[in-house]
Symmetry: D2
Subunit: 269 residues, 4 copies
């Protein structure tokens, strides 16, 4: 469309199927001239259709368990090799709560599950950043984005322990972003997206009611996966070089609305 | 560069001289294919060199006192006429404190000056939005940006009553952004920019120390006027269609840093 | 009850009738051993029943238009005289929007009304602080509280220009609180209270629906006027000496809830 | 002093020595008429002098490893038994980073250490809340406070992975606070305290410079351990019944100051 990412190289985590935000981002990045490697965990790769995306975008796939430092090291090394140079952009779009999957209520967590979900959803971001940092794999003015959700800041009762994981993730973006900025001139941000009917989103209990509530609360309606892909492209581009350590809401305004007229209508007698 | 704003029409307030953020924005918008009208108050026009910018960008100038609803109505009507259609983007970059100019400390305000500064710096944004809204002058998915500064959220002692004006301005962006979003599908945001050595910035007492402090606190250093222009272009473009009611920090990370190592060095014995 | 305010002297603005937060605060402060002067505008005094409160609490009443520096000077001078010493606590509970009263929608403001509402609701707090500061009328470790509402931070569509006024008020608390802290060791905070069925609250359009919505969103339910009075007592007491420049939510948790299960129930098909 | 906590029963975690915030809190709670059980990990008990505090306050000590659900269950059961009724207040003051202890930089974490620190500092709070919730051990209108630090929200480079742990902790306070509020009428908050020269605080690299910086940034100076104890008493008392899900800054105003005049002095040429 605009050639915003011409000449830029990247890694995109978490494209499962065509509803994934990471999938839409890969498509949009490709349209903007960026090249990249796709990655996902072996398990997620079996579930989804990432090979189709690989064909669509001409991107190679490297499987990696994001909780394994060794896998991440291999991923980064091979990506630099395949792409022919250091990395300019990275999308971290990974999240999973075993407590949610198993139907454990937030007040009845199984702490082995909690640890597993935290490791996959939150600590994986630190591991990824640490591998990129130590290997000096990022170009100056590169841009790293992780996807978050507002449950990190306010309570959404069904979001369970993913809320706490996202709070940790956002903190890692700030804490590591400081050193990545000072030492390597790389920016690190999170995008806090509207509820989105992806595979992961739909796993959350009461998702349908919630997405309708959010739609009615948001002055511009919910942001779609494509909207998120576009915003991510802007964050990867050279237009946002000094934006870092931020949690950026892409949500049609939801985050700054206390109540909307449509929602209040429901409370009229 | 990218043709991000091809076919879009706008109004840019507040370009005084080549150091102005609005000046840089006008240049960048032009490069991206946008067309626009330039405006400033008659007094500011005499002080600065806006006619030079008019020649550089091929934009017409319409003088308008932003505290005058009548002037704003005329500005909007003529802009639509000149540009040949409804408006897609607006930059509000207006701020002035009479108390600062007259050297009144924040604890010794002259309230006539306070009212004047509030009217120019904060209420002008509501007036502008109300005129655009009533005249139905904005296209759907248009984007309105006002420049703010972090003193709206945290204390910078020399920023004086401009802090309170910026807090009001940011609130107007949210409050009016709600209705502009719901009713017209237009987004309204503020960009909270690093201290920038513009004419207005340099008027603030202790500006040199402060800009150096901010530089040392910010992992990526202070954002320049050009950085802000680029971010504004991203906010005007179709890449950020669902971002609204936000206060967006363009500050090299300053806003999320509690202290930096460089600043702490100054406190070593 | 606890003698938390024994020996402390203060000024309480804004007690209109027995539903007022200021009224409940006056009663609770008296119970805790504090003595004070009551004040309100002459107009508000005619509307309400402040003389009854005066009898109940043994407090003298001094009329003052909070937009008049002269009135505020007289109020402070006489309060110090009557109470026999400098001031330890002040409650600012003043707010009024002429646009709301006249039924002007937020997108159709009359700017004379806007200026009037801003002067009464927001600038009055700066005037009060400036008078107290210049007259050195506060004791060290004194505490000043202004009442605010969350519309300053997020949109509540019917709150109209009071939202922007409260944003300005909260900014004044920070900006002036800085100097009051550094120079006089006085703390300045705002309490952001649940919607409360006071005379002022009930003037807001759609108040009944809104208070029910807030009740269902808040894990502990809405905070009452008495709850607010209790919190204010805590903020006036010596238990909170280092809390300053804060906006403190007294709202049953509303401010940090994205959605509650009860509210989602309304969106089930 | 005021009998604010007469008749209330509680559990206080984390009193190591007389500099501990938990130690001061125990003393102040006792003065206010509250009774409680003291607890700490067996390791911390050997390091510190908690038995002295036990004598001073007449409180029994029950050792508990806060990462062990079994230990927490035993602690809660025995506390209810010893104190003769359900619990009204709990202080969680626990934090430890193995990476900090071992001198690992934030960009060079050992992830086994990270997991251990997260378990002790952050997940322990969820475990504690879950045990209290399941056992229905809290009285209605009880109050639970955990100590946090602003590194959860903004970067303090030497705070290391404790920043991310505190972000997780604050999220748990919100997430669990929601259910504890709705289901049991119990409030859950965090207090975000000034840097404090406790044993834990002093372990942070560059602590002396940092505490001086914070002192100069804070309009009222840093809050001491005693100040924090007083604020905690206020949060345990019936004066703050509707305050929940909040992160409350007790920091002399630091959190809302962008820069102070004293700090800027250091940047004058």
């Amino acid at each position: 469309m605009y050639n915003l990412l011409r000449g830029k190289r990247g890694i995109i985590f978490g494209a499962l199927d065509e509803n994934s935000i990471a999938w839409k981002t890969a498509e949009r990045v490709r349209e903007e001239g960026g090249i990249f490697v796709l990655t996902n965990s072996p398990a997620a790769m079996r579930l989804g259709s990432i090979s189709e995306l690989s064909i669509l975008t001409g991107a190679q796939i490297i499987a990696a368990d994001a909780t394994s430092v060794e896998d991440l090291e291999n991923l980064v090394d091979r990506s630099v090799e395949i792409l022919g140079g250091k990395i300019d952009f990275v999308l971290h779009s990974i999240g999973m709560s075993v407590n949610v999957r198993k139907g454990n209520h937030y007040t009845n967590e199984n702490y082995e599950y909690t640890e597993k979900g935290w490791n996959v959803s939150a600590l994986s971001f630190h591991k990824l950043l640490q591998v990129l940092y130590k290997k000096e794999a990022m170009n100056e003015w590169g841009s790293i984005v992780a996807l978050s959700y507002m449950a990190s800041q306010r309570v959404f009762p069904d979001y369970n322990d993913m809320a706490d994981n996202k709070a940790y993730l956002e903190s890692v973006a700030r804490s590591f972003g400081y050193f990545f900025g000072k030492d390597k001139k790389v920016r690190v941000n999170t995008i806090s997206q509207s509820p989105t009917p992806t595979k992961a989103g739909q796993g959350v209990k009461g998702f349908d009611e919630f997405i309708e509530f959010a739609e009615k609360m948001s002055p511009l309606g919910n942001a779609s996966a494509l909207d998120c892909a576009n915003y991510t492209v802007a964050m990867f581009s050279d237009l946002t070089k000094k934006v870092t350590l931020q949690n950026l809401y892409n949500d049609g305004g939801f985050s700054n609305v206390g109540v909307s007229q449509e929602v209040l209508e429901n409370f009229k007698k």
